[in-house]
C-alpha cells in the first residue's frame, strides 16, 4: 500500500504526499504526553504536539517517518534517532520525554521515488552471509494505521 493510501485512510481529504523542503521543530509539552495514546500513529504525544502548530491539520507519526497534514497535502519528514528512541519508549508505556524535537526534511537518497541500489545481482550463495534484521517489537507498525 502506498503512503498516500495509508494517509487517506485517516485523512481522506489529502490529495498528495510531498517531501518536506525544510526542517521542522516541535515542542512536546506535558499535556501532550498525558492526552495521547500509545501505539497510535495519529494520537501519540508527538502527533498531539504537531497539531498545535498553526496550519497543521493532522499528523501521522511512524518510528522513522512522519507525515504532517496541511490542507490537502501531506508533508513527509524523517525522524532523527533521538525521536525514534522516544517513540519506542512511549509505545512501550515508558514515557515520552518533554522538550523540543526536530523533524528533518528527507535527504536526497531518502526522497519519494528516489532510486535505491541493490537487488540486481545473481545470488550465488557464495557471497557475504545475509544478516538477520532485528525488528523492534511492541511498537506501532507501518501498515497498522488505525482509523
Amino acid at each position: 500500500m502506498s503512503a498516500l493510501n495509508r494517509i487517506r485512510k485517516i485523512y481522506p481529504e489529502v490529495e498528495s504526499v510531498v517531501d518536506a523542503s525544510k526542517d521542522m521543530d516541535i515542542v512536546v509539552e506535558k499535556r501532550d504526553t498525558t492526552s495521547s495514546k500509545v501505539r497510535n500513529h495519529k494520537e501519540c504525544a508527538l502527533a498531539h504536539a504537531a497539531r498545535r502548530i498553526e496550519g497543521v491539520n493532522g499528523a501521522l507519526i511512524n518510528v522513522t517517518t512522519a507525515y504532517i497534514i496541511k490542507g490537502d497535502k501531506a508533508f513527509r519528514y524523517k525522524l532523527p534517532e533521538s525521536v525514534s528512541l522516544e517513540i519506542v519508549s512511549f509505545d512501550r508505556e515508558a514515557g515520552f520525554d518533554i522538550g523540543e524535537y526536530h523533524l528533518h526534511r528527507p535527504a536526497p537518497a531518502d526522497k519519494l521515488h528516489a532510486l535505491r541500489p541493490g537487488g540486481h545481482g545473481k545470488r550465488t550463495g557464495k557471497g557475504k552471509k545475509i544478516r538477520q534484521i532485528h525488528f523492534t517489537g511492541n511498537v506501532r507498525r507501518k501498515g497498522d494505521v488505525e482509523e
Binding site: D97, G99, E100, H134
Partner: protein, 150 residues
C-alpha cells in the same frame, strides 16, 4: 575522557582498547531480561547476554558504544539504532525484547581524526548549530558515569 579511562572505571584490570574488526551477533533470552538491572552499564540485558559468551569476562553497554572485556583487553563495538532503542526502553520500563541483536564494528576508529578536522575550504557558510535533545530517564553518559562498586 578517553575510552581506556572509561573502561578502567568499570574494569581496572583492562590495559588495552581495540576496535572490533567484525560485527558480533548476540542472542538475548528471556532469562537475560529477568536477571538484568536497569540503568546499569554492566548489568543490562545486553551486557548479561554478552557475558554468557565463553571468552567474554565483562561488558559495558552504553546507548552508542559497547565494550567487551577479554582478559586485559577491551574491544569496542558500535551500538546500532535498533539496539539503542531497546536500551532506552529497558532503562525506562525494564522491557527488553528477547531476540538476536548485532553489535557493529566501529565506523570511526579510535585515534582517527574526527569529521570536524577537515581543512577543506567550505563552499557554503557553516549552518547554525542545532540544539541537542538530551535523553532522560536512562543510564548516565559513560564519560560522566561514576565508577561503580566492584
Amino acid at each position: 575522557m578517553k575510552a581506556l579511562a572509561i573502561v578502567q572505571q568499570f574494569y581496572p584490570d583492562v590495559k588495552y582498547i581495540r576496535d572490533a574488526t567484525k560485527s558480533l551477533e548476540i542472542e538475548v533470552t528471556d532469562r537475560d531480561c529477568q536477571t538484568a538491572a536497569v540503568k546499569k552499564h554492566r548489568d543490562c540485558a545486553l551486557a548479561v547476554a554478552c557475558k554468557h559468551m565463553a571468552t567474554v569476562d565483562g561488558a559495558i553497554v552504553a546507548t552508542s558504544a559497547a565494550y567487551l572485556v577479554r582478559g586485559d583487553t577491551a574491544t569496542r563495538y558500535k551500538v546500532p539504532a535498533s539496539v539503542a532503542r531497546e536500551i532506552v526502553s529497558f532503562d525506562r520500563s525494564g522491557e527488553f525484547y528477547p531476540g538476536t541483536y548485532w553489535l557493529d564494528k566501529p565506523f570511526h576508529k579510535l585515534g582517527a581524526p574526527g569529521a570536524s578536522g577537515s581543512n577543506q575550504r567550505r563552499a557554503k557558510p557553516k549552518p547554525k548549530a542545532g540544539f541537542m535533545q538530551l535523553r532522560r530517564g536512562i543510564r548516565a553518559d559513560l564519560r560522566k558515569a561514576a565508577a561503580p562498586a566492584a
